[in-house]
Symmetry: C2
């Protein structure tokens, strides 16, 4: 458990620790080949491991990126994290992941912890787009390198990456209409997520475009997970509200709703279509597979990393907002 230090190596070889340090970073013009060989061999023999903490303190760079995600139930954030890791690991960065568990106080704690730890930069998907606004602003003011992704925040002078929610929602709903569905139920998201209003706006705009009246009873607020989706679906059916398609805010909602439909022996898609935003592999795994809008995870990770690295290099660089197109994948749940 006692770790060997460069001082130990220096003593063993009877040279100074500065030389050892230089030898280990193979600074060829300041230390002879022979010495390098001797040091490297001794380091190997003594099983020396560089203490990263000391390096970080000295260099004032942690070589670490923090990622704050709202939850770890959906695989989306993990795919994102994995993608970021694949890009940044070869560049010598460590990735720290913190899960806010949909609680904005935990999120704040996680964020502060990263900052105390002097990470080089932070990627964050906010779990509440208003509650922590002032908190974020403070960090933005202090030029902490940070980039929002997926669940971004309005009114903030900060780089962000998200997919084009409005248009993809628009196309998705319009697809339902083209398939002949008319009374489209919308399981909306909670109001603390910014995307909720975007998707609702798209929904209304599509109806207007196609001359369909907007019925308030066809829009129900339904949380984000499968329990929320199932409950909402049951409420609607029990209330006798007539509809022939469901447009869900999340994939989990859709799975919950789908299960309710199947248990009630309502056939998908002939009696009721189902489609959702935020689709992942899950939507393809079930039967029937669900038509969904999928976020371009890899692409988002790539852009987020690019923006973050640019902020790290120059904290006062102008912010950038990247909006990526999302893919709509049509599957059997909406093919009449």
């Amino acid at each position: 458990m006692k770790y060997v230090t460069i001082k130990d190596i220096a003593n063993a070889l009877g040279i100074s620790k500065s030389t050892v340090s230089r030898a280990l970073s193979s600074d060829t013009r300041n230390v002879s080949e022979r010495t390098i060989r001797r040091v490297v061999e001794m380091a190997q023999k003594m099983r020396y491991k560089k203490n990263e903490m000391a390096v970080n303190l000295r260099s004032r760079r942690a070589k670490t990126i923090g990622i704050v995600v709202p939850e770890a139930v959906t695989t989306f954030y993990l795919q994102f994290t994995t993608a970021v890791q694949r890009i940044l690991q070869p560049q010598g960065y460590r990735i720290i992941l913190a899960i806010s568990d949909e609680d904005f106080l935990t999120e704040r704690l996680n964020f502060e912890s990263f900052d105390n730890y002097r990470v080089d930069g932070i990627l964050i998907s906010s779990c509440h787009h208003r509650a922590n606004l002032e908190f974020y602003k403070e960090y933005v003011r202090r030029c902490t390198p940070m980039v929002f992704f997926d669940r971004t925040v309005a009114d903030l002078e900060c780089s962000s990456v998200r997919s084009d929610d409005y248009h993809s929602a628009f196309f998705l709903v319009e697809h339902l209409i083209y398939q002949g569905y008319r009374r489209i139920l919308h399981l909306a998201g909670p109001d603390y997520i910014r995307n909720t209003s975007e998707r609702l706006r798209a929904y209304r705009d599509v109806l207007k475009k196609h001359g369909i009246d907007y019925c308030p009873e066809l829009v129900v607020s339904a949380g984000i997970d499968e329990v929320d989706g199932a409950e909402a679906m049951n409420r609607v059916l029990d209330a006798g509200i007539r509809c022939d398609a469901v447009f869900c805010f999340t994939e989990l909602q859709a799975l919950g709703a789908k299960k309710v439909l199947q248990e009630r022996a309502i056939h998908i898609p002939s009696e009721m279509a189902i489609a959702c935003m935020s689709g992942t592999k899950l939507a393809t795994l079930v039967h029937p597979a669900i038509t969904a809008v999928e976020q371009p995870v890899e692409q988002m990770a790539k852009e987020a990393v690019r923006l973050l690295l640019s902020k790290i290099e120059n904290p006062t660089a102008p912010s950038e907002t990247v909006v990526l197109p999302a893919n709509m994948v049509i599957r059997s749940s909406t093919e009449k």
Copy 2:
């Protein structure tokens, strides 16, 4: 971007940095109440944030736990991580997560990186139970506090936590038999995962117990994910191999197999039952819901943390192997 240090506070107040340090840790018997108040106020005003790296270096403790997981596709490891975080965060620990992506070289890199970083302890689920054996042994020999969980490793003098694979697999297969299924297909796991042989052994033992002949063609190796499961299922059906139930190594395999069955209009569970190990919420979300063995995640996290903390306190403490019972949840996919 320039962070305030205790030295800055000391200068601003015209006192020494030792006093500031003591005041900030509210060392009441070595610094006066008045000074503490002045320091705390000034710290607040100057937006001082303690540099954790410096503290760690000095105290020689990173107050950090590293978790190495094989993949982040299944939610199991994230639930585990979330659970660990919930236990350890209140105790002032940070959690670092590294994803090996089922690659043992990446795993090695991740592990070494944690060690270089002098984390207090490491929780690891191995992605290959043989490839890195010598590597692990070296760390065990050096008394690095580490605990294996879920995918554990044999022949290693190290604490570990896993669920009782053999018995739960046994019960699961036996359940199929009690339901009247006789020709049970086993989609086995890859041989680099230790559990593969355990589950296969259980499968054979159940058959023997019930006097059913073991047919080699009913055991096919099938990777771990849904693509593997679907391919294997297709191969078996195309080869005309007769069976009336499928016992899957993983949940994803089961979902892949289930999809193939449904696409071929083979009814579940009347024509073919399906059951799997490593079940999560996913198994409940699909229709019909899949009978599965679920690992006691929270319990595993609790035990893993307990074992790890004990190793951290006393690195030479004797190792312990904890085997927890897993739950079998019977669902409609196996009810004839």
